[in-house]
């Protein structure tokens, strides 16, 4: 009995050690051998990989980062955390939005936008065709499904007031991460805020007809930069060469994607095989023309765009002080 029970305990310890062993074995292949003297850099995305990020994956796959002496690891973080991670320096670069950078700077978190991934805002309000929502006036009496932020409410209110509609007649519902198609097809919501180049394309794939209200065209103030590439001021100050090298690679990546949408889509699919391949191909065709759009070169940001949306955020009480927009972004690494 005595020895028996002690043996049992020994056994449990042994199994524990074995599990350690197995775990150690399974994790070994993950640690890739380190190539000669490349500088390790981490870039965090804003959420799951998609065609907004194609340039990064192209630069990685085509060796544009390696040319610059960098080994870039691309990480998918939990949603909405890239700003904090870049601010902390755990990642040197990240994908964010003009709005988030403005929030961060108003809170004295020194993030800086170093490139606009897409020249114009490609998001807007989408609804199934049969809902007949053609302008913000038609939002009256309808249900909006979103993430539950005040920013969404204020945006909808602004658009409706501009159109002389009554904002109080809209029902705002928080649907979180539930996708637009599931919630609209089941009749739980009437309209949602989508990226035209992703959910808008997916609708076509599914053979669904949508009405789409382009945010930037509806009100120029909402033609802000989304997404942008960010770093933090400390890195900018202490290791400018790193930022230069990284951005050279990234720019080359996006320029390649602009010229070769099909190859770029294939690279993204190769690097991230989990995502919807047909969607990536169609979305890439759509976005490749829009990365640079009417700008002189890819990535350029205009002070006017920053100022306009910052003023709007301030006027609507989202930030309690106006930030100096000239410090919030730079075109230094684009030209």
């Amino acid at each position: 009995m005595t020895n028996n029970s002690i043996n049992k305990l020994k056994y449990i310890f042994l199994i524990t050690i074995m599990i350690f062993g197995i775990a150690a074995c399974t994790t070994q292949p993950l640690q890739e051998p380190q190539p000669e003297a490349l500088k390790k850099v981490t870039a965090v995305l804003d959420w799951t990989p998609n065609t907004n990020h194609t340039g990064l994956y192209v630069a990685k796959d085509k060796g544009f980062f390696k040319e610059q002496g960098l080994e870039v690891e691309i990480i998918q973080p939990s949603e909405g955390t890239s700003d904090t991670i870049v601010a902390s320096g755990k990642a040197q670069f990240g994908i964010s939005y003009q709005e988030s950078v403005t929030y961060a700077r108003a809170a004295d978190i020194p993030l800086i936008s170093i490139a606009a991934v897409i020249q114009h805002n490609t998001s807007g309000f989408a609804s199934l065709k049969e809902k007949n929502i053609l302008t913000p006036k038609d939002f009256e009496g309808k249900v909006y499904g979103g993430w539950g932020s005040e920013m969404e409410e204020a945006t909808i209110r602004y658009l409706m007031e501009q159109a002389g509609a009554d904002f109080s007649k809209v029902t705002i519902m928080t649907t979180g991460d539930a996708d637009f198609f599931q919630t609209s097809a089941t009749g739980q919501i009437d309209f949602a805020w989508i990226f035209e180049g992703w959910a808008g394309i997916e609708a076509k794939q599914k053979g669904m007809e949508l009405n789409y209200i382009d945010l930037g065209k509806e009100a120029p103030v909402f033609d802000y930069y989304t997404p942008v590439i960010i770093t933090n001021e400390t890195i900018l100050k202490e290791d400018k060469a790193l930022v230069e090298a990284f951005m050279k690679g990234v720019k080359k990546g996006y320029e390649y994607a602009i010229k070769n949408p099909e190859e770029a889509a294939d690279i993204l699919i190769k690097e991230v095989p989990e995502i919807n391949q047909e969607l990536v191909r169609e979305s890439q065709k759509f976005l490749s023309d829009r990365y640079q759009d009417d700008a002189a070169t890819w990535g350029v940001q205009k002070e006017e765009v920053w100022q306009r949306y910052t003023d709007w955020m301030f006027a609507n009480g989202f930030i309690d002080k106006k930030i100096d927009v000239t410090k919030a972004f730079t075109n230094e690494f684009i030209d």
Binding site: F13, A24, W47, T48, S78
Partner: protein
Amino acid sequence: MKKSENTGQNKKHRELGLSIIPAIIMVLFVFFWQAAVDFFNVQPFILPGPITVFKAIYDERNLLLTHILVTLGEALAGLGVAIFLGIVFGLLMGYCKPVRIALYPIFVITQTIPLIILAPLFAIWFGFGFLPKVIIVVLMCFFPISITFTQDLIKSDEDMDSILKVMGASKWKSFRLARIPQALPGLFSGLKIAVTYSITGAVISEWIGAKQGLGIYMTRAMTSFKTAVLFADVFIIIVLSLVLYKLVELIEKRFVKRIDYV
């Protein structure tokens, strides 16, 4: 002698008969699921039928396997640490009351931490490597092991203790001879809870930031509208958890006698 062997055989037959019931229920459930999806003509992005899901598992098998290995590695490493710590602290708390009084509330607190909310902080403190994932799995699995073990250690048969005391056994000796063996069923029920948490724990841990794993795979399927793949992923997580659970049950059957499940 012969008689008892016979009853053993009968019991085995009866157990086999009983284990068919859940299998039948599962088959019926899958059948009705498919029938309902077909009958109501549910679009696959709202609710995919089991055939679509199994097809997704087959189509994505290579990719699934890569991610399974990553997640399994995280889960097992975390589980290993949790079992080790769970047993050590279980023994300490079971043997020594002041330790129990000191640590118990802290352990309960660890279970109230909303890990998802702390995700960005975990990424900042520990980066995106293997360590933060293991820590999250340990946080989720360690508690049930140490607590069930401790509780069984303190509520073991007191008569046995008295007898051993009369016979001149020291506190440690009677703890070792009587209490630990009697607390093994408690330890194993804690282990069973822990293994079912371990895979989910690893999946959640990947949400703080990672390159690979079932959790990453899941979010990517979700945001690119691949509902069937999402279900495939969930199915794999269930199967992995069940396999681990069964493994603990088998080990338990070997070491702890006279237990009737169900």
